[in-house]
């Protein structure tokens, strides 16, 4: 296949982009597939970066989505360390930062999201970091270890996972959160309290309800975080984990509709029938909740990669999935499914003090979401019930003597 053959061009070599390429070949797509990625490495898994990889339990090979040989065997062209600078929808071409112009029959935008910066004095000091890429993780890893103190700005899952990893590596960690509780944006209070206690018992310090005023440093390296209260927390490095923003500029400039992400339909297609968008960058329909939303998860990236690949090869659309995600901290496996929209009641199953429990979010007699800690049956059963949109009995749900199998039966 030559430079002038038009096939599928995938912009972004992350979990979504890499999966879309592999899925297209599995579905028998036989034209040219090009994946263009800004990072210098082939598609890899990001979730372990804050966990197993940071602790030295995973290496580059195990992070890789596919071995290097796959791309040659499957005839998928990887163009790495290169950006797509513009999309021309009229000529159906993309311009690359290395000067090349490539034609497409279908374009798949998998440009992901980037960490939101904290626009405060000192944010440009060395040692103030974010975590998104393998390169970020490499830098962060060097800042963890015995005797080293990490300040985590933002009590979200990334921050908590890194705090747990920092402790596992023998260092200290302090989490600074603007809200009165951690995980305020993503979890219920029961979960927030549980995780706060669990981390505290393992030596993580918390500053809640705390505004970060600035980073202070010496010799251009961060040495502390100054809070609005006037207090300064000493640290050797700081991780800013306050959420991500979608990389939708390319789509905007091409005139595609974006509202906090690239707007797509149930097939991951934009209003331009030749252009799809998948993963963290999309603002997508959630048929089970009858609304549009932007999701940030591997499950979402994979689901949309399958949707786009199916549509491109003309296969029937895959069944809708219940969105889900997970987080590993210490010996805890936290899994959640669904989203807590329109919730009017919450049922706790099990005792948080035992570190094995689940929280079900209900709207009327239907489960909208489940958050499970070391409770895989509750997660799996809950996910099934959410997908089936079935009515459940609150009494059975709260009763540990009734198995999840029976609740879901």
């Amino acid at each position: 296949m030559g430079e002038n053959d038009a096939g599928v061009i995938i912009v972004g070599a992350g979990h979504a982009g890499g999966t879309a390429a592999a899925q297209l070949r599995q579905f028998g797509y036989d034209k040219r597939i090009v994946v263009v990625g800004e990072e210098p490495i082939a598609p890899y898994q990001r979730p372990p970066l804050s966990k197993a990889w940071l602790k030295g339990e995973a290496d580059a090979d195990s992070l890789a989505l596919k071995p290097d040989s796959f791309y040659e065997q499957a005839n998928v062209e990887l163009i790495l360390g290169v950006r797509v600078t513009a999309i021309s929808r009229d000529t159906k071409t993309v311009a690359l930062s290395d000067g090349r112009v490539l034609p497409y029959e279908f374009l798949v935008l998998a440009t992901g999201a980037r960490p939101r910066p904290l626009p405060i004095p000192g944010a440009d000091l060395k040692g103030v970091m974010a975590l998104r890429s393998a390169a970020d993780a490499e830098m962060l890893k060097a800042a963890l270890g015995p005797g080293k103190r990490l300040a985590v700005i933002g009590g979200g899952y990334i921050g908590l996972e890194v705090a747990a990893s920092a402790r596992a590596l023998g260092g200290e960690a302090v989490v600074v959160e603007r809200e009165p509780r951690i995980l305020a944006r993503v979890s219920c209070k029961t979960l927030s309290d549980f995780f706060t206690d669990y981390h505290r018992a393992r030596g993580v310090d918390f500053k809640l309800d705390a505004v970060v005023d600035s980073f202070v440093g010496e010799d251009r390296h961060v040495t502390g975080v100054r809070l609005g209260s006037g207090e300064t927390i000493a640290c050797d490095a700081a991780l800013v984990g306050i959420g991500v923003a979608p990389n939708d500029e390319l789509a905007r400039e091409a005139g595609l509709e974006c509202t906090g992400g690239i707007v797509v339909d149930e097939h991951a297609r934009t209003a331009d029938p030749s252009i799809f968008a998948i993963g963290d960058v999309t603002h997508r329909p959630l048929p089970m909740y009858d609304r549009m939303f932007r999701l940030e998860s591997v499950a979402n990236a994979l689901e949309q990669a399958r949707q786009a690949a199916s549509a491109i090869v003309g296969r029937p659309a895959p069944a809708h999935e219940v969105t889900w995600n997970w987080s590993d901290q210490y010996d805890l496996k936290y899994q959640f499914a669904g989203l807590p929209f329109d919730v009017d009641d919450v049922v706790v199953r099990g005792d948080p003090a035992t570190a094995k429990f689940a929280v079900f979010h209900l709207s009327g007699d239907k489960i909208q979401a489940v958050e499970a800690v070391n409770a895989p049956a509750e997660f799996m059963g809950g996910r099934q019930l959410i997908g089936q949109r079935r009515s459940v009995s609150r009494a059975k749900l709260a009763d540990m003597s009734v198995s999840m199998k029976e609740v879901a039966a």
């Binding site: 796959f70 994979l302 070391n374 895989p376 049956a377």
Partner: protein
Amino acid sequence: MAKITYVEFNGTEHVVDVKPGMSVMEGAVKNNIPGIDADCGGACACATCHVYVEETWLEKTGDKSAMEESMLDFAENVAPNSRLSCQINVTDALDGLVVRMPESQH
């Protein structure tokens, strides 16, 4: 190296050499064998790497953890020889292993 045979639902066989230390799931994913999705990458969080272990190999592949057991309880088309392939660690003793895939992981 352990030679592992992965059999797709439609009967297509894939025979590959898998490095000890990897999981049976990784052996499939790294060789682009279809039918094992492994959405969570091996964290025992999703049950999309479900396989049926050929009866003669059940003992050698070891016991299921309580976590794996619970996850499998809710997977589709579960049988007594069902396993999550991310939880089977490959050793030289598994040279010759045969696993079959369910119709779908979703």
